[in-house]
């Protein structure tokens, strides 16, 4: 993929607006990083299981019980816009 296209492609997927100036340097930087990462192709990974993280198999669970959040008022106090007990956003359905 071309540098400029990489930025347009991922910026849209990631929902991040980028200015023309940012596009100009991000494309070159990303392709340089991706070029470095190409080195991984030399590693022999046949038959190797991916390692996603540590201790994922310890099967820890806790009681699935509903609790009243004590933080509702504080959580809403951080909202950029709210109405009564809800976050407020622009109209989604026309």
């Amino acid at each position: 993929m071309e540098n400029k296209n990489i930025v347009d492609y991922v910026a849209n997927l990631a929902r991040v607006e980028v200015s023309p100036e940012e596009k100009a340097y991000l494309g070159g930087q990303l392709s340089k990083i991706l070029e470095y990462i190409e080195a991984l192709k030399q590693a022999d990974v046949s038959g190797v299981e991916p390692l996603r993280g540590m201790h994922l198999d310890q099967g820890l669970t806790r009681q699935d019980a509903a609790e009243v959040s004590p933080h509702r008022r504080n959580i809403l106090a951080n909202a950029p816009a709210k109405e009564e007990n809800s976050f407020k956003i622009p109209k989604v359905i026309e």
Binding site: I6, V7, Y9, V10, A11, L13, A14, R15, V16, E17, V18, S19, E22, L26, Q29, L30, K32, I33, L34, Y36, I37, A39, L40, K41, A43, V45, V48, E49, P50, L51, R52, G53, M54, H55, L56, Q58, L60, T61, R62, H71, N74, I75, A77, N78, A79, P80, A81, F87, I89, P90, K91, V92
Partner: protein, 475 residues
């Protein structure tokens, strides 16, 4: 009694217990010192007029501590040094904060950092860069540069940071303090704003290993609020202090002493080997053959996890919201305005690696190589008890030196990243100075859940050396 800033945290706590010092006087002393030095260092985001209320006893009760600004303290501002979170108030305590409060520590403020912990120099902060106390024209390392600089300059005796690829150890190395990243799962991540969830670990900044052992005693342990938190029993780490090293085998991985390592750093770590030997340790040459892939694996894995974790900053529930009447534009513009350049690079790299058509070639392949890196360590730890390496390839660099070339910045974490990929405990300790009078750090990597061995080695080393007593010249 010596000047308060010269005392270790354990000594201050002991003096408070013996009523030789008053906790309020101690707090005020460090608050004044922090305020006085902060315009020069920019290490702290906030300095509290009075400590966060805390009641409890421990080996560090009454001692002031600063917290990296990505760990939640209820009712206080938390920013991750990002514009997107500016003016956000934490609505609950991280588990480590609850533990510090219950141990009677006095939280004095929050430490500056790279935005969302993305960086190795603390130049990526919306509050401006942190200065290295040893030379204010140099970076302190990162991303926990504020925590490292605060402890090195003795603004405060203790700090917490977080380490995803070296973010505690690399700044500790470049600032000349002890920076400890425990085993993945040892410390609860509840209340740490997530960067790379399979890599993140909260850890400590102290000047010596005694304070380090006490602080780890307080923050380590199981927490049901973090499903990756380990249930393995936590030993009393202070029992590892004052031991000799008879029978301990230290591995030197040849891949960590090759091309790209500054000769001054090499010779300081080589001298440290002699100190360990003099205390009874045996040296074994080892190989970790997949080390050359660590940086590439890390930037795929960590950025992928980051791009997913940072989706929550969408302008809806908290943080910055751009003015628009369209919902998709609200997400895009809020994120575009709120995230800095490095956050965007990581989000884009991660999004690319996880996107349809690239997932197998990048993300999945990286996780397979991650397994190979972990297997290297598993094999090595059959022959040795700990591994000794440099913390960083060179001394603290100058501001702006690596900002235009992100890849060169990423490579400054080349020796610290593997411990995160393999989930292992690791610590950076001061082991010398360059001819520019800048600190050099050595790194010890331990077996899973064997933090005790690292403390045993570190404490034995500090009993024979004085690097950790040196202090930067400050006004």
């Amino acid at each position: 009694m010596d000047k308060l800033s010269d005392l270790s945290a354990a000594m201050i706590s002991q003096a408070i217990k013996e009523k030789k010092l008053d906790a309020a006087v101690v707090y005020d002393f460090f608050r004044q010192r922090a305020k006085q030095l902060n315009p020069r260092l920019n290490s702290l985001v906030e300095i509290y007029d009075s400590p966060v209320p805390a009641q409890g006893e421990s080996g560090l009760a009454g001692v002031p501590i600063v917290i990296k600004d990505n760990i939640c303290i209820e009712g206080r501002k938390i920013t991750c040094a990002s514009r997107i979170l500016d003016s956000h108030t934490a609505v609950y305590d991280a588990t480590v904060i609850t533990r510090l409060k219950n141990a009677g520590l006095k939280i004095l403020g929050t430490a500056n950092m790279d935005e969302f912990a993305f960086g190795s120099s603390t130049e990526n902060s919306c509050y401006g860069p942190v200065k290295n106390p040893w030379n204010i024209e140099r970076v302190p390392g990162g991303s926990s540069g504020g925590s490292a600089a605060a402890v090195a300059s003795r603004q405060v005796p203790l700090a917490l940071g977080s380490d995803t690829g070296g973010s505690i150890r690399q700044p500790a190395g470049l600032c000349g303090v002890v920076g400890f990243k425990p085993t993945y799962g040892r410390v609860s991540r509840y209340g740490l704003i997530a960067f790379g969830s399979s890599l993140d670990q909260i850890g400590t900044f102290t000047r010596d290993f005694t304070d380090c052992a006490h602080l780890l005693n307080i923050i380590c342990g199981h927490d049901s609020l973090d499903s990756t938190s380990s249930q393995i029993a936590v030993p009393d780490f202070t029992k590892s202090l004052g031991q000799d090293l008879a029978g301990l085998r230290i591995g030197l991985p040849r891949e960590y002493f090759g091309e790209g390592l500054d000769p001054q750093v090499r010779s300081a770590v080589t001298e440290a080997i002699e100190v360990f030997k003099s205390k009874g340790a045996r040296i074994v040459d080892i190989s970790l053959p997949h080390t050359k892939y660590a940086v590439a694996v890390y930037y795929i894995a960590a950025s992928s996890e980051a791009s997913s974790n940072l989706q929550r900053f969408d302008g809806v529930k908290y943080g910055l919201r751009a003015k628009t009447n369209n919902m998709i534009d609200l997400h895009k513009l809020s994120r575009g305005q709120g995230f800095g350049p490095e956050a965007k690079r990581r989000i884009f790299l991660g999004t690319y690696s996880l996107s349809s058509g690239y997932y197998d070639a990048y993300y999945l392949r990286a996780l397979k190589v991650r397994r190979l890196i972990k297997t290297d360590f598993d094999k090595a730890f059959k022959e040795v008890d700990v591994i000794l390496t440099p913390t960083a390839p060179a001394e603290a660099f100058k501001f702006g030196e690596k900002t235009a070339d992100p890849l060169s910045m990423y490579l400054s974490d080349i020796y610290t990243i593997s411990a995160n990929l393999a989930g292992l405990p690791a610590v950076s300790f001061p082991c010398g100075f360059t001819k520019n009078n800048l600190p050099i750090g050595g790194q010890l990597i331990g077996k899973e859940f064997d933090e005790a061995a690292l403390i045993r080695l570190g404490a034995a080393y500090q009993s024979q050396t004085e690097w950790h007593m040196k202090m930067p010249a400050l006004p």
